[in-house]
């Protein structure tokens, strides 16, 4: 049997979850290849792997959201046919998805009740649930206002609602898929305390993550996945981050980016008292001012949803600021098309929604944003042949595979899509490049490539503004780090002085002066 042993207490009791030969394909993609896994009851078990390694697929199979093509699932030693989330809930399995499965206009109570109403009218069920929730909140230190609307709650609290939802349904096994992506390091630590609390009460926790720090901090045992296969099981106490990293990637990896100290030149981007108000009238960016100089990478750190996206959109002309000024080489910018003409490149946070047009072939995507340049159109007609030639050139230069300009954007993997976007934005030789989440959903090989390119561009004297929620990425790439919380800048740190703890405090809104 696979070697995820417990710490003594598990002897005798059957494992909470046992997977035997789980196999799953999505079309030509073999997402899970003959997976075997044992999770002992009353432990916190980590599953670690790169993006696309198949971790989420596997856990969604355990939760019945997908059905395996073949394989056996045992819960508490008993074979169970889990064909839907209903079966999983029935078997005592709960899952907190990466994207929360909450109905925003509903209250916390209504969300928890959904699917577990206990009768065909709501009244009696609501009263019962209210009582049960109060007990659960006390037992596990999960304070939530159960009459608040989800839309009004911060993500950290929404996550607690998800945990409560699972516990309310009687989950003895709780699966969490990348739960810390939306949390500050301190909030993540708080979450881990909750998980340990669950463990103390005899429940089993499965934690999916791609962050090794969390594995080391929170788990008893860990399994490593790579390209759809389960490659190793370890007791957390017996392994190291280096070993896990190597197992994840299949070779030695450079965890830090090689680069010389920056030699910043004159200011390229000047942001003065920028204000952004969103469609709902909420102030997302509040009085933000900073400068990015030629030849430096400035990183914007922060938990997702603290105004970084809106800032990026305002700087790139997608969103009109409600106040303040944005100057490129001392000149104001109009809209997104104007930004491109003034040599501002932008790799957007969400490449599939924004950076690419899904149904378009690669070559048509290669001019998105630059369609006004005379190089691509003459008398209003597109110069298709030269566009295709250029696209092919870039695909080869940026190692986009396959280098096929006629292939639809969706036919490329995440990493190759990202390289295509990067090629488009870099090859138009911008003076300032805005980069949002450059490595989201991208495999390690592509991450290394993208990081190298960014540093090379910096060394060529260009200004780069990097927005990322991956603290490790910011810390290894940025020369200067600006931290945002709730739309404001809470601090600025030089790369040399940056620590995860210090940045974490700033990300939680505790600024230097106050700390």
């Amino acid at each position: 049997m696979s070697g995820a042993g417990g710490d003594g207490r598990t002897s005798g009791a059957p494992p909470a979850i046992e997977l035997l030969g789980i196999d799953k394909s999505f079309g030509p993609v073999h997402a899970n290849d003959d997976i075997h896994l044992t999770v002992e009851a009353g432990t916190i078990h980590g599953i670690v792997g790169e993006n696309g390694a198949g971790k989420s697929t596997l856990m969604n199979i355990v939760y019945g959201f997908y059905q395996a093509d073949s394989g056996i699932i045992r819960v508490d030693g008993e074979e169970r046919a889990i064909r839907s989330p209903e079966d999983a809930i029935e078997a005592g399995i709960g899952m907190v998805h990466q994207h929360f499965m909450l109905v925003e206009p509903f209250t916390v109570l209504e969300n928890i009740l959904l699917g577990a109403e206990g009768g065909w009218t709501l009244k009696a069920g609501k009263a019962r649930a209210r009582e049960a929730l109060l007990r659960l909140e006390q037992d596990y230190a999960l304070e939530v206002d159960i009459d608040a609307r989800i839309a009004d709650l911060p993500v950290g609290i929404q996550q607690r609602v998800e945990i409560l939802k699972a516990l309310f349904r009687g989950a003895r096994v709780l699966i969490l898929d990348e739960p810390t992506g939306v949390l500050t390091p301190q909030e993540a630590d708080h979450l881990f305390r909750i998980l340990r609390n669950l463990k103390e009460q005899g429940r089993t926790v499965i934690l999916i993550t791609h962050k090794l720090r969390e594995i080391m901090a929170a788990t008893d045992t860990v399994s490593v996945m790579r390209q759809g296969a389960m490659v190793a099981h370890r007791r957390t106490a017996d392994t190291t981050t280096e070993e896990l990293a190597e197992l994840m990637v299949g070779r030695k990896v450079l965890l830090r980016v090689d680069k010389q100290p920056a030699r910043p030149g004159s200011p390229v981007l000047e942001v003065e008292h920028l204000e952004v108000v969103d469609e709902q009238g909420v102030r997302r960016v509040k009085d933000v001012s900073f400068t990015v100089r030629a030849g430096e990478i400035v990183g914007i750190a922060g938990v997702a949803g603290n105004g970084q996206s809106e800032l990026l959109e305002a700087l790139s002309g997608i969103r009109r600021p409600s106040g303040g000024r944005v100057l490129l080489h001392g000149e104001p910018l109009a809209d997104a098309a104007d930004c491109r003409l003034k040599k501002l490149g932008h790799v957007p946070e969400d490449r599939l929604r924004m950076g690419l047009v899904r149904g378009f072939p690669a070559y048509e995507n290669a001019i998105l944003g630059y369609q006004l340049l005379p190089a691509y159109a003459e008398h209003g007609f597109l110069k298709k042949r030269s566009i295709i030639a250029r696209c092919l050139d870039w695909m080869q230069g940026y190692d986009v595979r396959p280098a096929a300009p006629h292939l639809q954007a969706t036919s490329f993997s995440g990493g190759n899509q990202q390289k295509l976007v990067l090629a488009r934005e870099m090859e138009h030789d911008p003076d300032l490049l805005l980069v949002g989440q450059p490595t989201r959903g991208v495999d390690i090989g592509a991450i290394e490539f993208i990081h190298k390119r960014l540093v090379a561009m910096r060394d060529a004297g260009k200004a780069i503004l990097l927005v990322s929620v991956e603290l490790d990425e910011i810390m290894s790439l940025a020369d200067r780090i600006i931290v945002m919380f709730d739309g404001t800048i809470t601090g600025e740190v030089d790369q040399a002085e940056a620590t995860a703890r210090g940045l974490g405090l700033l990300m939680a809104g505790i600024s230097n002066e106050a700390a």
Binding site: Y66, S84, P85, P105, N111, L114, G115, W120, L122, K123
Partner: protein
């Protein structure tokens, strides 16, 4: 003074009569749209039901048989819409449009083939239609000032389906906000993934919602041909399905505001009928066509957000596909 009071009462009574199919249809649409399925096919369902009601009532001589036939046809069309837009994830607007057009043609074709009356199906006979019911004490109460005539003219003396429509409003509101079905219905239109992961079938919920839609739209159709009218005529729904949809949107997909919008449109229609050929002071005679166009114009102004803004259920119009 007396004259004016009578006029107002008559206008109110005719508003109620004209609002009935709109209310039933809007309530029908509420279920579909709240579940995340756009239902532009209310028009076709109502028209198909009107034909079925007329045909069945004409043949059987029973209004009840007509009503059942109406519901059966409307329900089948709703299931067809579900088959296309839920099971096969087709475009919901296209599916609704297809149903509207096919039914608009099929009604006259079948009417012609079966009844040979140039695309009409006349319904005669007392039992073949839902006739106005005089509520108890209506005549006796007339002498009571204000309430009496109101009771006699506006509350009493409607056919059964008008009362069905009236009763449906609180029932719909209760179902949507106070029951398990309603909770799941509202959830599935906002975030189907949340419903799916809670162990509830998204497709199942949407089909169930469409079943209710079919039922209510069927009653609306029967009302047109065997209660308010006496038979089926070509295109007799005359855009009421679209108008009901507009009322639903104007009511922000909530039962009571949607009913109020229906009453507003029905009132405009009632006024239109009264004003035909009447010379108004200062303005002169208003062309009928202008008043006919009024509800549509009003809807556009409302939709344009000059009066409030409607936020649709978030998942509306999108077929549910599990994300990967």
């Amino acid at each position: 003074m007396e004259e004016l009071a009578t006029q107002v009462l008559l206008l109110t009574a005719s508003t109620v009569r004209l609002a009935t199919p709109l209310v039933l249809c809007a309530m029908a649409g509420l279920f579909a749209e709240r579940s995340g399925v756009v239902d532009i096919g209310l028009e076709g369902k109502m028209l198909g039901a009107a034909f079925a009601a007329a045909a069945a009532a004409a043949v059987s001589g029973s209004a009840w048989v007509g009503l059942v036939a109406a519901i059966a046809v409307s329900w089948s069309l709703a299931m067809l819409h579900g088959f296309a837009s839920i099971t096969h994830k087709g475009d919901q607007v296209v599916s609704g449009m297809a149903i509207n057009i096919a039914v608009a043609g099929l009604g006259p074709v079948l009417a012609d083939a079966w009844f040979r009356q140039a695309g009409r199906v006349p319904v005669s006979g007392e039992d073949a239609r839902f006739l106005p019911i005089e509520l108890p004490f209506a005549e006796a109460a007339r002498s009571i000032p204000l309430i009496g005539p109101f009771y006699a003219e506006v509350v009493s003396d409607h056919n059964l389906l008008v009362y069905v429509a009236a009763v449906s409003i609180p029932i719909v509101a209760w179902v949507v906000y106070r029951t398990r079905f309603g909770l799941r219905l509202r959830a599935v239109g906002e975030n189907p993934s949340a419903v799916d992961t809670a162990g509830i079938s998204v497709d199942g919920m949407r089909y169930r919602a469409l079943m209710v839609t079919g039922l209510l739209a069927g009653i609306a159709g029967a009302y047109l041909s065997i209660a308010q009218g006496a038979g089926f005529t070509r295109d007799m729904s005359a855009g009421r399905g679209y108008l009901a949809l507009a009322a639903l949107i104007f009511g922000k997909w909530r039962p009571v505001p949607a009913v109020l919008a229906c009453l507003l449109f029905a009132f405009a229609d009632a006024v239109q009928a009264r004003l035909q050929g009447v010379e108004l002071p200062l303005i002169g005679e208003i062309p009928t066509q202008a008043i006919q166009a009024l509800p549509y114009l009003l809807t556009i102004l409302l939709l344009a957000g000059f009066v409030g803004r409607a936020v649709a259920p978030r998942a509306i119009g999108q077929p549910y596909v599990k994300e990967r």
